[in-house]
């Protein structure tokens, strides 16, 4: 029997080898292969994002422009729901039994183990009545969500709106944004996104195999708290913003006011405007769609995106350049017969002999045409093109044809024709001052944004320099003192030349074209402008600053299809100025009301045609404005799309967002 004794070694050997194989595999999966611990973690760990409250935005006096309001979603985890009084619950939520059943079915279909929304966006009030009793209904829980709310419903285009981040933005952010995050799309919300968004917090929770949360991973050591967005204090003054929006109702145009001593934006009205609360919440998509269809494009940010020929408001600038070049002196005078050299441009009436001040005060086209001709012929008619280049350089120092660099996205550049431009149109050396004379009176190919126009007033108010316009005063508790905002941008005109021009501008309001808008007790210096519009009535423009000594506000108002500058733009500007400087309106209310209640909405067919053209174009970037006419005064409000000007992009983006 023991003859098979040896076999014990065989058996033992087999046992040992098989166990060694097991040990080897164990070694492999435990020590060598790193994958398993990763899988283990993935099984168990899940990161939950905590969304912070977005930073609120205030006006310069700490009045709320936009803040966050808490809304509540009621979520349900079907598996955890225990029997309860359904009818009572329905009553609390204000739904009926069939609706309850429908929603509960939906939640089960989504997942019986996971939490999904049952009722969305309850206001704090509705929630308050439910919250105490919510604990009675196991399986139901509340989730807090923050949404933007605008207590005064003003400054919609200025503030902009936020929306859920899309795929392109996620990719571009390189991981900073995840699906479900919000991002500012336009206006201040976009420009100061980094400040306002705060920081998303992360909670690392561990889950069991049923998907139930079992607590914080490593006791929350790896969790990061959500950090609320910083409070942003803008330079806007809500009193005049409100007043401006009131005055501009039922009109198309803009108001922009700047504080000359700092470059801070005081008022930023784009009309037609909309209630910013419409771009929040579940109805947002529908509301946006309606506004997209609005022929007057409420999403256009007119103060920085709409282009107008500045018209007569451009004249002071020409005067300053001419003074600087030594072409004229304040005493230089011309005789106006009502039409320059018997042709174009014409004046409303013959002005007779006028010096600079009077020329400005009565806005004499003859005067300025003469000045311009003299200016462009300094080097002789054959050198018109090089002289023009010089002239253009001087104008661009005022930031015409260039962006001012305001801290809002998608600012328009305006348009300043170049010598090349005219070479192409007329042929090299085939043009003289007479070909481009409309530039003398701010018409022609020249296009500017209301911001640029207001900025000129700042420059004049400061006697020769401007500060970069900006809207930010403080982030959190810290005042903003960026070098670019405190730097003086000189326009190359010596200070002494401003006085005579300002004299003329004061006359405009005292006794000139804007006399009916004079404010008792305040010396306002301004210039009316009337931009010609081939599609309807002319556009009413007025630019000004006040008071003359130690100016505190510079303003540009454009009212489309309102006729002459004095008719609507000047009065509106004067009310804004009066309100800002004295905090009241002392002048008769019936005139105020007349201006306020006037409905100057233009014929929508022009705007419809514009929209339709936008929609038809495939490539939004290649949009060409149809504004260029061959000769003479131009047109209408032009919506030029160049490079970044994303107007039509905005409107068609909103069309896409309809489906949200």
């Amino acid at each position: 029997m023991n003859s098979f004794f040896v076999r014990r070694y065989v058996i033992a050997g087999i046992f040992i080898s098989i166990i060694v194989i097991l040990a080897a595999k164990l070694f492999y999966i435990q020590v060598i292969d790193k994958e398993y611990s990763i899988y283990a973690t993935k099984n168990v760990l899940r990161s939950i994002k905590i969304y912070p409250a977005r930073g609120p935005i205030y006006d310069r006096n700490n009045n709320v422009l936009v803040q966050n309001e808490a809304f509540y979603d009621i979520n349900v985890t079907p598996k955890e729901v225990k029997p309860f009084d359904t009818l009572e619950f329905c009553k609390l939520l204000g739904i009926d039994k069939p609706e309850f059943d429908k929603r509960f079915e939906k939640a089960i279909k989504y997942s019986p183990n996971l939490s999904s929304p049952f009722e969305k966006q309850l206001t704090a009030q509705t929630y308050a009545s439910i919250s105490e009793r919510l604990s009675e209904f196991t399986g139901f829980s509340a989730v807090t969500r923050y949404m933007r709310t605008y207590p005064d419903s003003v400054a919609a285009q200025f503030l902009g709106y936020i929306s859920e981040v899309n795929d392109k933005e996620i990719k571009r952010s390189g991981g900073r944004y995840q699906p479900g995050d919000y991002i500012g799309e336009t206006g201040v919300e976009k420009a100061y996104e980094d400040v306002l968004r705060g920081q998303v917090g992360v909670e690392n929770m561990v889950y069991n195999s049923h998907g139930k949360a079992m607590g914080h991973y490593a006791n929350g050591v790896y969790d990061t708290a959500a950090r609320a967005g910083d409070r942003l204090t803008s330079s806007l003054d809500i009193r005049i913003q409100k007043l401006g929006e009131q005055l501009m109702q039922n009109k198309v145009g803009s108001i922009i006011a700047i504080e000359p001593s700092t470059g801070e934006i005081l008022c930023f009205v784009s009309s037609p405007t909309y209630d910013p609360n419409l771009m929040v919440g579940r109805e947002r998509g529908n509301n946006a769609a309606k506004m997209y269809k609005n022929p007057y494009t409420p999403f256009l940010i007119r103060p920085i995106q709409a282009y107008y020929p500045p018209g007569s408001s451009f004249k002071p600038l020409n005067a300053l350049i001419a003074l600087q070049e030594g072409i004229i002196t304040p005493q230089t005078s011309y005789y106006c017969t009502g039409a320059y050299k018997g042709g174009l441009p014409r004046c409303d009436e013959p002005h007779g002999e006028s010096d600079l001040a009077r020329g400005i005060a009565v806005s004499c086209n003859t005067y300025f045409a003469s000045v311009f001709e003299k200016l462009l012929n300094i080097n002789g008619p054959r050198n018109t093109d090089s002289t023009f280049v010089q002239w253009r350089k001087n104008v661009s120092k005022f930031s015409f044809g260039e962006r001012l660099g305001i801290d809002l996205p998608n600012e328009g550049k305006g348009f300043m024709p170049t010598a090349d431009f005219y070479n192409k149109r007329f042929g090299v050396n085939h043009w003289r001052s007479s070909s481009i004379l409309s530039l003398a009176i701010g018409q022609g190919e020249l296009l500017a944004t209301p911001l640029q126009m207001a900025n000129i007033e700042c420059t004049i108010a400061n006697h020769g320099f401007y500060y970069r316009p900006h809207l930010i005063k403080a982030i959190g508790d810290k005042q903003i003192t960026k070098a670019e905002y405190t730097q003086r941008n000189y326009v190359g005109i010596d200070p002494q030349y401003f006085e005579p021009v300002i004299d003329g501008m004061q006359e405009v309001v005292e006794s000139g074209t804007a006399a009916s808008s004079k404010i008792p007790g305040i010396i306002m210096c301004g210039k009316t402008g009337t931009a010609q519009n081939s599609h309807g009535k002319n556009h009413s423009i007025f630019v000004a600053f006040a008071p003359r000594d130690h100016p505190r506000i510079a303003i540009a108002v454009v009212v489309e299809n309102a006729g002459q500058g004095a008719w609507y733009a000047a009065p509106i500007a004067s009310y804004i100025v009066e309100k800002y400087l004295t905090d009241t309106i002392k002048r008769p209310m019936d005139e105020f009301n007349r201006i306020k209640d006037a409905n100057l909405m233009p014929d929508p067919s022009f705007y419809y045609s514009q929209i339709r053209k936008d929609a038809l174009r495939d490539s939004l970037k290649k949009l060409k404005a149809d504004s260029l006419h061959k000769k003479g005064p131009v047109k209408s409000v032009v919506i030029k799309k160049k490079n970044d000007n994303k107007v039509a992009y905005l409107t068609s983006t909103l069309k896409r967002k309809e489906n949200e």
Binding site: S3, I11, I14, I29, Q30, Y36, Y39, A40, N43
Partner: protein
């Protein structure tokens, strides 16, 4: 004359007893971690598995002591009786048993307890086999003896297969080591190895013609080399025929006899499918749990996969996952080493027996324990298909714990009397 009471005390193999106790304790603590219930945190809380396991261990120890106090002749004499009882129970369970998890493997007892006859059948088969093979003039190399020995093994296998409990059925196949030790031709072992390989290859390669052709080629080459040896050539030819028949029958078995869920389990091990959500889920989670333990493990009660119930059957079939996850490679090797040491110790005990009965029985115990360890741990690390058999002394379960206790303590009793032949 030595007092029998005394002799057994000093002759009991304490090494084995210590290993036994260590394994029980390791099992108890790991069950505590695996199914930890914060509402009943105490390790002896009676309405939890770990509390119950404690009771089973205590009662197992008492049972063990009781066995040691028995007369060993008593045990030998009753071998057939035990076999008869377990056979009866195996039949009873088919008629009267509780159906759990698709197997009719349990008999309900008063007091809410359950009994699993197949566990005890392992013991009684080892015992009867030992009794038979130790009889005078029984040589396992003779056909008649071989047939009866095989019958002793196959009979309970068949009954268990009817439950159906594939795992427990397969356990009995390990007793081939016993037969080998007693003289069975090693070719059987080699043959068994070959057939397993063929089985795996047939299913994996899935191409019958390919297999048959390559087999014929191999046979042809061997015949060519050894063509002088007629006897070998004829053996090869017969072997070839048998092999081809085997291959066909494997195909047949796989396609037409095996249940789908069994097929899937084989497929998963062989890497044919990776069903991570369904049948493969257990194994996948098990590997993740063990693999994530790395070298030193995550610590007692710190296993995330264990804590959050990702591995099913954590306290029973997959208890090794808890060990792997919480004690890491170090812990896993320690336990594996402990089992290896136990099995080798039992072989050592077996060889020092004077009585063939004891020796044969000891090899039975070693084989059974070895088989359980390899299959159970192999299953948790994915190299063996999912077969539900427990890890000896560590898995939760009264029947399993007691049957291994009986297996081991009967051996200890027999061993303690190994000098007894002289005294008797």
């Amino acid at each position: 004359m030595n007092n029998p009471q005394r002799s057994f005390f000093f002759n009991v193999d304490w090494v084995t007893v210590i290993i036994y106790l260590m394994l029980c304790t390791i099992g108890w603590f790991n069950i505590h971690s695996a199914v930890f219930d914060p509402h009943h945190p105490s390790i002896i809380a009676l309405d939890t598995n770990y509390g119950k396991q404690f009771i089973y261990i205590i009662s197992g120890i008492i049972l063990g002591i009781f066995i040691l106090l028995l007369e060993s002749r008593f045990i030998t004499a009753l071998a057939p009786a035990f076999y008869g009882i377990t056979t009866f129970l195996l039949i009873l369970v088919l008629v009267h048993g509780k159906n759990i998890g698709g197997n009719q493997a349990w008999i309900a007892l008063p007091g809410g307890f359950r009994l699993q006859p197949s566990e005890f059948a392992k013991f009684s088969t080892c015992l009867l086999l030992a009794r038979y093979l130790s009889g005078t003039n029984i040589k396992v190399t003779e056909l008649k003896s071989f047939a009866i020995a095989a019958g002793i093994i196959l009979f309970p296998m068949a009954l268990i297969m009817l439950q159906p409990d594939a795992g427990s059925t397969l356990v009995f196949s390990c007793l081939i080591f016993v037969l080998y030790r007693e003289g069975l031709s090693p070719y059987f072992l080699i043959l068994e190895g070959m057939f397993i390989t063929l089985f795996v290859l047939t299913i994996k390669l899935n191409n019958l013609t390919y297999m048959v052709v390559s087999l014929v080629l191999i046979a042809a080459i061997i015949i060519l080399i050894f063509r002088r040896n007629r006897k070998l050539v004829s053996t090869i030819l017969i072997g070839l025929a048998i092999t081809i028949a085997f291959v066909f029958s494997v195909k047949f078995l796989y396609n037409d006899v095996l249940q789908p869920h069994q097929k899937v389990r084989i497929d998963i091990v062989l890497g044919i499918t990776t069903d991570l959500r369904g049948k493969g889920y257990n194994v996948n989670q098990s590997k993740i749990a063990i693999g994530s333990g790395k070298f030193w493990g995550k610590g007692y009660m710190q296993g995330t996969q264990t804590k959050y119930s990702f591995v099913p059957e954590q306290s029973t079939d997959f208890i090794f996952c808890t060990i792997g996850e919480e004690w890491g490679f170090a812990g896993a090797i320690f336990v594996l080493g402990l089992y290896l040491f136990l099995v080798l110790r039992i072989i050592y005990i077996a060889e020092r027996q004077r009585s063939p009965f004891s020796r044969i029985y000891a090899y039975g115990v070693a084989s059974v324990i070895f088989f359980h360890v390899v299959i159970n741990i192999g299953m948790t690390i994915g190299i063996v298909p999912s077969i539900g058999i427990p890890l000896p002394l560590i898995s939760y379960g009264g029947s399993s714990l007691w049957s291994f206790t009986i297996l081991i303590f009967v051996l200890l009793k027999l061993d303690s009397n190994r000098m007894g032949i002289i005294y008797a």
